[in-house]
Assembly symmetry: C2
Homo-oligomer: 468 residues x 2
C-alpha cells in the first residue's frame, strides 16, 4: 500500500510496529468474551501500530494519516470487551500507552496523559496525597485512564460515585481533532459527552483531568447466602446504608463463586451465593453489625486473615465487574455474558423474575451502583451459550420485561446501546473528523445518513440534544 | 439542700460553678426558638454546674450524685434547640466541655473526648491529615462532638452521608453508667442507638470514635430562582447528581434570603428563592454546567470574589440548618419553626402542596439529604407564630398530609419524635441508671410505666427491638 509507505516517511522518528503478529495482537481486545464478535471480528487487523509519546508527535501522526487517507483507531491497552479499539478498516492502530505522564496530583483531582495505567495513577496518588481514582475498571492493573473514559462506563467505585456519564466524574478532556491542521480542544461540562464512551470516533484524548477521592485500605469481604434473592436483597439494602463507605457491592449467584473463584474456593461452600464488597476500614464495624442483623455469613474477611492465607488471592474487584465473566470463561469456555440495567425502584422484583425465567441457563451477576441518584443494579449475567438466536431471544426477553440490555455482542456505539448519538454529536464529528477516518465503522449515525436517532431505547451516555 | 453540701465535699477538687446567674445560663440552650418551650422552660435551672476534666473525675461526680440522689443533666455547650440539656429537676448540670482532648486522628477516623468543639476537631484533622468530620451542626464553632451525638441528628454533610442514626456515622462510644459503682461501657454497632440522640438519659459519653472524610476547600455558592418550586426541583435534581460532591444543599424560600441574610443581601434580589450549596472545588465546573442547564442564576460564588468582598460574610452553612431560623429570629422575633420529613419519592409534591397551603404563614426551608439510601428533604420551615393552638393545627396538617413532624416544641425524647424508645432501651436505662437520675423528665417511657411504645409514628432513631 503506497499510502502506508508515504505515511511512514512522514512520521519518521515516531515509534512504529509492523510485525504482523504483534500488529494483530494490538488490534484486538477481549472481544472473544462474545462468541458472536469472536466470529465476526476474528479477521480484523490494522496495518501498523503507531505509538506517539507526546501530543506533538500525535499531531504529526494525525496530520500524516489525514493527508494519506489512512484510518486511525486509537487504543489504550485493549482491555475493552466489544471491539471498541479494533480497526475495522485496517490502517493505523494508534497506541496511546506511551503518553503516560502523570502531570499533576492535587487535592481532589489529577491531570494525566491518556496512557497512564489506572493502578499506576492510584499508586502515585496514594503515595503523594492519600488519594485514588473515584472509579476504575476491574482491569485497573492493565487498563489506561484514556481507554477507560473512551471505551468504558464505570466500574469499581460506581457504587459510590455513579458512572463516567455523570457530571463531575471527568473534569476536563483535551482532545485533538483529525483535520488537515489538527486542533487541540479543551472540553468540560456537557461537552465532555462528545468524547466519553465514543471509542475515539470524535477526536483523540491527549490529556485527562479527573477527580480523585480519599484512598483507604479497603477491606475485601465476601458475604455468603444460601438463597440468591437473599443475597440480592442484602446487597440492595447494604447499598442504601448511607453511612457505610463501600467501593464495591457485587452479587454473584451460585454456582459461580465456588466453581469459578478457584483461589477463594476454600472459603466458600458449594451452592453459595456471594456478595463481594470492598469496605472502608472505618466502616467495617458497622458493616459487620449490619451483616449480622441481615443474617449473612461472613465467608471471607481479609482483615482477619494472616499474610500466608492471602498469598496468591486476587483482590476483591478482580472477582467483580468484567472479571467475573473472565474467571467463568477460564473454567467454562462455553459461557458468555450480557449487560443489563435493572431500573429503580423495581430492581429486585425484576432480578427475581428474570432469575427464575432463566435458571440453569443464566448465572446472575449484579453490580449495585448509584444511578441518577438512586441505588440500583446493573447485571453482567453469565450465559451458557448455545446459539446466537437463543442469545437474541434472551436479550429480547430482558428488554421486554423492562430490564434493558446494553448488548456486548455488538461493536457499534448505537447497537451496544450505551451511547446515544444525535445531531449535535454528529455535527461535532463532522467538524473534528471531516474525512471519517477516526475508528471507522463504529458510529452508525455517521455511516448511515438515514439513521433514526429516536429509537426510544435506554442509553447510558445520553445524546446532547435532549440534555442541552 | 443538705445533699448538695455533702455532694460538694465528695467532689472536692473538681471544678464547680454555683453563681446563680451563670448556673441559670448554663442550664439553658436555644429553647427560646420555641415560644412554647420559652414559656414552659423559662424557670428551669440547675443548682450547680460541675465540669470534670477526665473520666476519673467524671466517675467521682457520678458516684457522689448517685449516693446523694442528685439528678445529673449532661451538657456540651448548650446549642440544642429544645431543652435537650436543660435540668428539669434541678441538681447538677454536668458540663463535659472540659473533656475536650483530641486523642487520635487516623485515616478515616478520630477518637476524641465528648467536649471537643466540632470546628476544633475539623481544624486539627485538616491540619494533620486533610480530613474533617462527615457532618456537623451549623453551630460547629460552638457545639461539642458529644453534644451533637447525644442531642443532634445530622446536619452539614448529611446530604452526602445521611444522619447520625445511620450505621457507620458513629464508630464507637465509651459511656459511663450512673450506678453505685459506675461502669465504663464500649458501645459499637447497633448498641450505639442506646445512647445516640438520648439526651444523656442512658449514660454519659466519655469518648467518641467517629469517621472522618476528606476535607476540601468547599466553595460556597448560592443559586437563585424566581419560583420556589423551581428552586426545590433544582435542589432535588442536584442532590441526585452522583458525581457532584456537595456538603450542603439547602433551599430557602422568599422572602427569607433577601430579608434575613443581611450580609449576603447585596448579592440577592428581593423575592428570590435560593439554593445554598457547599461544592467541592473539583466538582465546581460540573456544578456550574449543571446549574446552567437547569436555568439557575448564580447569585454568589465565593471562588470568584475578592477577599474584601468576603469580609464579614458568614460561611454558607451558617445560613442553613438551624442557623436559617436564627437569622430569621434576629430580624423577626415573632417567627418560630418546625422540623419535618418529606418522605421519598413524593417529596416534591408534598413540598409544593404544603407550600401553597400555608403561603404567607410558613416560610419554607428544605435540607436535601440522603435518607435510607434515597435523596429526599427535611424541612425546617419558619412559621409566623400566632398561638400554640394554631401551631398544633399546622403540625397536624403536615402529619395528615404525610409529612411527619418532629416537634421541636416538646422536650421529651418521644414527643420530639426523633427517638423511638422501646423495651430494650428501657432495660438498658434500668441497668445504666437504676435510680433514674440522668436527665430526668426527658424519657416518657421511664416516667410512665403504661407508655405505649407502638404509636405508629415515624422515628429518626428507631427502637432496637424492631431492628434487632
Amino acid at each position: 500500500m503506497a499510502d502506508l509507505q508515504a505515511l511512514r516517511a512522514d512520521i519518521e522518528g515516531i515509534r512504529i510496529e509492523d510485525n504482523e503478529k504483534i500488529v494483530q495482537q494490538k488490534s484486538r481486545d477481549f472481544y472473544w468474551y462474545s462468541p458472536v464478535l469472536k466470529e465476526r471480528l476474528e479477521a480484523v487487523t490494522g496495518d501498523l501500530v503507531v505509538s506517539p509519546k507526546t501530543e506533538a508527535e500525535l499531531i504529526r501522526v494525525l496530520k500524516a494519516c489525514y493527508r494519506h487517507g489512512v484510518p486511525v483507531t486509537p487504543r489504550g491497552t485493549g482491555t475493552g470487551n466489544y471491539g471498541q479499539a479494533m480497526p475495522l478498516s485496517g490502517g493505523v492502530v494508534l497506541s496511546l500507552a506511551d503518553m503516560n505522564e502523570i502531570r499533576e496530583i492535587a487535592p481532589g483531582r489529577a491531570v494525566v496523559g491518556p496512557g497512564v495505567i489506572c493502578s499506576d495513577l492510584d499508586k502515585a496518588a496514594r503515595f503523594e496525597s492519600g488519594q485514588e481514582m473515584r472509579m476504575h475498571p476491574s482491569t485497573a492493573h492493565t487498563a489506561t485512564v484514556g481507554g477507560f473514559i473512551a471505551g468504558g462506563s464505570g466500574g469499581v467505585g460506581s457504587t459510590r460515585w455513579g458512572g463516567l456519564r455523570d457530571f463531575g466524574n471527568v473534569i476536563r478532556l483535551r482532545v485533538v481533532t483529525m483535520e488537515e491542521e489538527p486542533r487541540a480542544l479543551e472540553l468540560t461540562g456537557e461537552d465532555l459527552h462528545k468524547v466519553t464512551h465514543a471509542y475515539g470516533t470524535n477526536g483523540i484524548i491527549t490529556e485527562v483531568e479527573l477527580p480523585l477521592t480519599a484512598a483507604y485500605d479497603w477491606v475485601d469481604v465476601i458475604v455468603a447466602f444460601d438463597d440468591f434473592m437473599e443475597a440480592a436483597t442484602y446487597a440492595n439494602a447494604l447499598g442504601r446504608q448511607d453511612g457505610i463507605l463501600l467501593k464495591l457491592n457485587t452479587v454473584v449467584a451460585a454456582p459461580a463463586p465456588f466453581d469459578y473463584f478457584k483461589r477463594h474456593q476454600k472459603f466458600l461452600k458449594e451452592g453459595e451465593n456471594t456478595v463481594i464488597c470492598m469496605v472502608a476500614p472505618q466502616s467495617l464495624d458497622a458493616f459487620l453489625a449490619f451483616t449480622r442483623r441481615e443474617g449473612g455469613r461472613i465467608a471471607f474477611n481479609r482483615s482477619e486473615l494472616a499474610e500466608e492465607d492471602l498469598r496468591g488471592l486476587p483482590v476483591a474487584y478482580e472477582l467483580a465487574w468484567n472479571h467475573t465473566t473472565l474467571r467463568g470463561l477460564r473454567v467454562d469456555p462455553a459461557i458468555t455474558y450480557l449487560q443489563v440495567l435493572y431500573p429503580f425502584p423495581d430492581q429486585l422484583a425484576l432480578v427475581s423474575k428474570l432469575h427464575e425465567m432463566f435458571e440453569g441457563e443464566v448465572i446472575d451477576h449484579l453490580e449495585f451502583v448509584r444511578f441518577d441518584g438512586d441505588i440500583t443494579c446493573f447485571g453482567l449475567p453469565m450465559v451458557r451459550y448455545s446459539t446466537e438466536e437463543r442469545l437474541d431471544e434472551i436479550i429480547e426477553t430482558f428488554n421486554r420485561e423492562g430490564a434493558p440490555i446494553f448488548n456486548p455482542h455488538r461493536y457499534t456505539l448505537e447497537e451496544g446501546g450505551m451511547k446515544q448519538t444525535d445531531e449535535i454529536q454528529l455535527a461535532f464529528k463532522r467538524e473534528a473528523d471531516p474525512r471519517g477516518l477516526l475508528n471507522p465503522g463504529k458510529m452508525i449515525a455517521w455511516e448511515n445518513p438515514d439513521y433514526d436517532f429516536d429509537s426510544g431505547a435506554v442509553w447510558l451516555f445520553k445524546g446532547l440534544q435532549k440534555a442541552g
